[in-house]
Symmetry: C5
């Protein structure tokens, strides 16, 4: 996520354009143009993948529930056709294409629109977390999901859908809508767990031996949390809308109850992010303190050594002077006495430092 | 609490699973599978411990009030059976198993659900405070409490229940519900008192002689307070719900009045936590200032000694030069004059420093 | 206040106890067991002090207004008797005994309960401000005040009550209730004035010559303000309740108007505390800056002296070497030329420093 | 403003006194006892100055609009008489005397009360801004203004009032009320402009050459902004009240529209103050950074010079030893070789420093 | 923007003036006095530029929609005439002239008033972003836009208006109103993108090699963000008004839907500004840390070199003393032994430093 995280592809290039002209400005992650349709009711289950969106739309079964999944938002023509078929407002289609859109739920007369980020750990040792924008449309008998990239966290749901005895098949399509959003919100937990581990390891490392890489790591953590917070805060409000009666009536009271559970999750995620922000800013303070403690110790050593040697070096300097008449120089015990004088000075100083608890 | 406190067992491993599949992801603290039932009314009092949850459920007396207590949340089958018997929503049972759940009160048609943290000081000299998640279900004539570990702060209540003359026996079961929550909230005070003492001792220690352990201790305090705050903030709102009329009608007006008292306690706890956060962040500043003051004193000593000796060492260096023609060297009083010159330089410098109030 | 201020006697020792068992956990400041009754109406005024609370309660005149004042909250038996006589809820009596209670106003069917802190400057040169918890009960024809210690800020009111022509005698008892709370709120001003003076003196001292005591003093001020804030913030809300119609109807519209004035005072106090917090945190920054400025000046002197003497001491070192073949040493003007060389180095350095504005 | 700004004459000396006893505790700025009356309607305009408040009150014309202006709040007897004549509540008169009162608007049955601070630049080069408390009473056909000191920002209004064709003469008295408050709010802009200029100059000075005076100046700015904020924040709310229908009906809908304009001004002032607070705290950071940068540069010079001379001075020290058997000393090229050795050491060090980008 | 950004031309010079006297206090950017009229309906489109505002006003077609655009707010006479023609309230005209006005939407009986900032990148390499105040009036069949300077971001709209098939021609004038505001809000994105790039580059530069210019740059960024925030925050509220039914009924439900899209944009911009503020304050911390790390490294070198050479220089000093009786001096191996002694001291010290991980 690092660098990428605060580099928004802001929509300046669309300034002045009318709404409804579908322009995709995000990155293209897939060459895919195919659309996927899952058509199911209590008795039947059908699965179609096709390049041909018109074919898919023809296959949409009015007596079943239909879940259309599209990957790759650069296929604006496909999105247009889907929008036209289901009579979607152009502004909603524009939002689907905006991969920087903040999470939001919006209700129309005949459908509900939901958009949010989905997180995914790509590989086991991958440093970077992977995320993409997902938009979901819920209509009377259909759900349409729009994704940026191949792969998502919804495969468990697809498997269950194929199973005649699963709750998903016995319920209305709003229950599927809930399960999709619930799965995506669950995907945040993995992300947050990783951050928690990173914070803990970083803290241990700083206590052990602070180095300047640690500060950079804390800064990176802080930035990830800023980004994450921005993605999750509005989500709470969007989910809260799902727990109340909508003017569309698309979500049953039973499913509203399920959304209160997702709502609890979203609050928990937000509270954890806030806690991590506090901990991360504590790590930065800790780094500064560790560095400053180390510095102080170094300075103390310098001081002690300087303070001990400067006076006795001076004494040596005195007796290095070339004056003709310096009686001490000719004294039999002059040299040992001078050495003892120096030793005395050192002892006095050590006592002075010890008293002040400098070491 | 320390390390443990920000290591949440987040629910990532349940991503995509349907709700209602009871999976426990917390730690297992007890081998216990037994359930405890206290069945009481104004006249009778009965106590049953059993391994057999079906037996317990059969013993539930419809003409008495029944308090079922379960310890060990890994017994998901037992929890399922209880849930089935009392007709509890699967999402509520899921929340019971979530030991990281934020405090919350939730009302259903036939029962009230309350979940919160309970604090307990294990032994006298134990550094770590002990806490666990407790969930409470209040029905028309039953209370069910779910705990993670053996031991709680409710033994006083159990004793009083056995006493025919106690208020607990003369009142409805909602009064027992209040007493349980009140006792748990009271358990927070011990926790907070400990933190207050720690803050005070730490402050005294830093004033005496700041060392780098103190910063670590302040950081630990800060983290404990962050954790505590997260546990208590939502509690206020949950208790506030108990002070108002619920749609369930399970809590009488009299008991609502008692909950306003618990509400006062929860606000007091929150305000104290906020005060402690302020004090703790003050401790960190104090540490930094103390360290910096100490450092300054060391630097001052270095400066003064260097500044005094550097010029007179230079003078000694001058008269240590081996030039053939240096009239002073041959002068009868050259040596004592040089010494007096050095003394003069030292005196001038001391006056300069004194004037600048450097010591 | 200092140390005491964040050492709360939290109620952990009462965990699990039923409400209504009156237990006092505060400090005992007085041996007093006597109760004081002022009974008055437009025509008569009576004053009774007695050890015997039953006697006092018998003397309560149903045709007059009665102000009962109790000092010493450890007299739980006396408080019980009063509570029983006036039919006060056990939870209210519990709150009376809680000397750490946050300010609050609570209305019952037949009385109003108000609790807050009262401040008092003990002696002129006393460093510590003195405060105590005061609880006030207003009924149809009575006021009961409960105090921790002897002495309060209400003597002016007592004098006026004895005066037949005073407004207090001509008005209803809710007006006395207002005057008591108004006087207590006025007691905060003295407290705040002292803090304002301290802040100002501290600032002057730091500008003059910052020493480490100043930081401690700023920390103490900060803690006092944290404590004060905690005592005053909830007060505003409590007084706001008095300016609106209560369900009890105990406070007339006229007196509500008077409470808006007290409400203004409470907001003013809060705003001043906030300002003082800002100023105090400014003092801490100022201290740090002053110390750092002083340190910088010291370092500058060290640098300048070192930088000047190090090179010329080196030159002296050169000509202190004992090589056989060093032509300069035998040169007639070797010594003066060396001295001039040193002088030249010093002048060049001084110009360099001057240019960089180092002094 | 400086010092004065946080030295509030808090009302502690009035503790326990009944409301309505008019006591002035502010400073006395004028010996004036005269009152000024402007009596006007569409046709006539009359102006009276007099020592005799009874005379003025007799001259109040029930068929005209009357603006009474009083300067000097120590004239409590005059204020009493005015209060008695217009039937003003004693608490309002008390507020008039409180020169520390926060801005507020309060409506009574027959009048509106408004109190706020008025700012005034005394002389061109005066460092201190001048301000005073102004209270305004609007009745059916009168306005009374109470000021602390001679001089105000209302002379333009007085001139316009004398002009028969001015909008002030053609409108109701609520329009005059608006114009007075609008003029006073406009007086804040001058104040804020000055602060803006000071911030800008201070920033330039710090960039040029930070010295410890700059920190003091930033602290003073910060304190002025704290004070200003306290004076303006509540003003917004007070003015907002004027934009809505009052129960008194004293302000017409047309004038309410004018007050929305003043409301915009008050928000603009608040936003500017907040911006200035941000900028001022930025200045403090800038000062700290500048000082620390300068310090770093000094330290760098010390380090470089020390690090260069310490090793070569050591070499000189070596050949200053008086051992009998030191072959180098007798070598023909010993001296120049030693000098070259020293030069070599210096060159190596300079390369090392250059590489590390230390200069 | 830099310097200019916090130098507000505050309206102090208008203190006391009556509202409605049109005075322009902003800067004059253009000599232009011409007004531009676009008159269009579904069938016709007309464009007129003229010096003569009366002519333009005569050309306003009651059966078409009319968009009047005025550049140069110093033309107060022209603005007066337009205001008189369309019956605009003097306070609105005053707001039009106030180039420092915060964004706001205000509805009157017959028109809607909207004012906000418009951003514009002047040239490709220009450091300074360019902005100006734009005010928009929407009436039943007209829109009037007032600008400070030549040039805007509305040319795309003008081109579309000339195209008979464009949505702008087929819709009501409220749709044009939406398109104008949408285009101006879009202009903020470019601004924000630039800031995002600057932040990123600055971060990279600081990591590479922090110098004092970087702090200045971060401070400038911070100031730009403060300014931007002030410009955008109130905008959200103003746009929110457009998404709800106005009392004027000038905006149709369809267009309200379009404004919810602009509302989303405004929230997105605000959230991005907040993120950038966080990142910028992180940059300042990063700068401080980098500088302090560099300083620490320098100090470490000084310490190590000093600590190594000070003791051995002392040894050299010892054997540079001129005592007659110093046996070592005459010893055959005295010199090499002394050198080995020095070497030993150096080795011991290096081991000591290595152990402490000082290098
Ligand atoms: Mg980011
Ligand atoms: Mg993206
Ligand atoms: Mg995907
Ligand atoms: Mg889930
Ligand atoms: Mg749940
Ligand atoms: Mg769940
Ligand atoms: Mg921080
Ligand atoms: Mg934690
Ligand atoms: Mg747990
Ligand atoms: Mg337990
Ligand atoms: Mg209790
Ligand atoms: Mg209580
Ligand atoms: Mg209690
Ligand atoms: Mg703090
Ligand atoms: Mg106490
Ligand atoms: Mg007392
Ligand atoms: Mg008072
Ligand atoms: Mg008042
Ligand atoms: Mg008062
Ligand atoms: Mg102030
Ligand atoms: Mg004043
Ligand atoms: Mg005046
Ligand atoms: Mg004005
Ligand atoms: Mg205006
Ligand atoms: Mg105006
Ligand atoms: Mg700031
Ligand atoms: Mg401008
Ligand atoms: Mg323009
Ligand atoms: Mg747009
Ligand atoms: Mg959109
Ligand atoms: Mg758009």
């Amino acid at each position: 996520m690092k660098k990428k995280s605060h580099k928004h592809k802001l929509s300046s290039s669309k300034a002045g354009l009318p709404p409804g002209d579908l322009v995709y400005r995000g990155e293209v992650y897939t060459e895919n143009k195919s659309v996927n349709l899952l058509s199911f009711n209590t008795k039947s289950f059908e699965k179609i993948d096709s390049d041909n969106v018109e074919l898919i739309l023809k296959k949409v079964n009015p007596d079943s529930f239909n879940w259309i999944n599209l990957v790759g938002l650069h296929n604006t023509d496909v999105i247009s056709k889907i929008g036209y078929h289901f009579n979607i407002h152009p502004l909603v289609l524009e939002d689907v294409l905006n991969t920087e859109h903040r999470p939001k739920a919006e209700e129309s007369e005949s459908y509900l629109f939901f958009t949010l980020k989905m997180f995914k750990k790509q590989e086991i040792d991958s440093e970077e977390n992977d995320y993409e924008q997902v938009s979901i449309l819920l209509g009377k008998n259909y759900i349409i999901t729009f994704q940026e990239k191949e792969g998502d966290v919804l495969d468990t749901i697809r498997e269950k859908l194929a199973d005649e005895n699963s709750k998903l098949r016995k319920n209305n399509i709003d229950y599927l809508f809930y399960r999709i959003i619930d799965s995506i919100v669950d995907s945040y937990y993995k992300m947050i767990e990783d951050l928690g581990d990173k914070i803990e390891h970083l803290e241990d490392s700083i206590y052990l031996n602070a180095n300047s890489q640690h500060y950079k790591m804390a800064q990176d953590l802080r930035r990830e949390l800023i980004f994450l917070r921005k993605s999750v805060y509005p989500l709470r409000e969007a989910i809260a809308k799902m727990t109340k009666e909508n003017s569309t009536g698309l979500i049953s009271e039973d499913t509203q109850r399920y959304f209160t559970d997702v709502y609890d999750h979203s609050i928990h995620i937000i509270e954890t992010i806030e806690t991590y922000r506090d901990l991360t800013s504590g790590l930065m303070d800790l780094y500064m303190t560790s560095v400053s403690n180390k510095m102080n110790e170094i300075m103390k050593v310098l001081t002690i050594i300087s303070t001990i040697f400067i006076p006795i070096t001076f004494i040596a300097g005195i007796y290095g002077m070339n004056f003709k008449f310096m009686p001490e120089l000719n004294h039999r015990w002059g040299y040992p006495i001078a050495l003892f004088l120096m030793l005395g000075v050192v002892v006095v100083m050590l006592i002075f430092f010890k008293k002040r608890k400098w070491f």
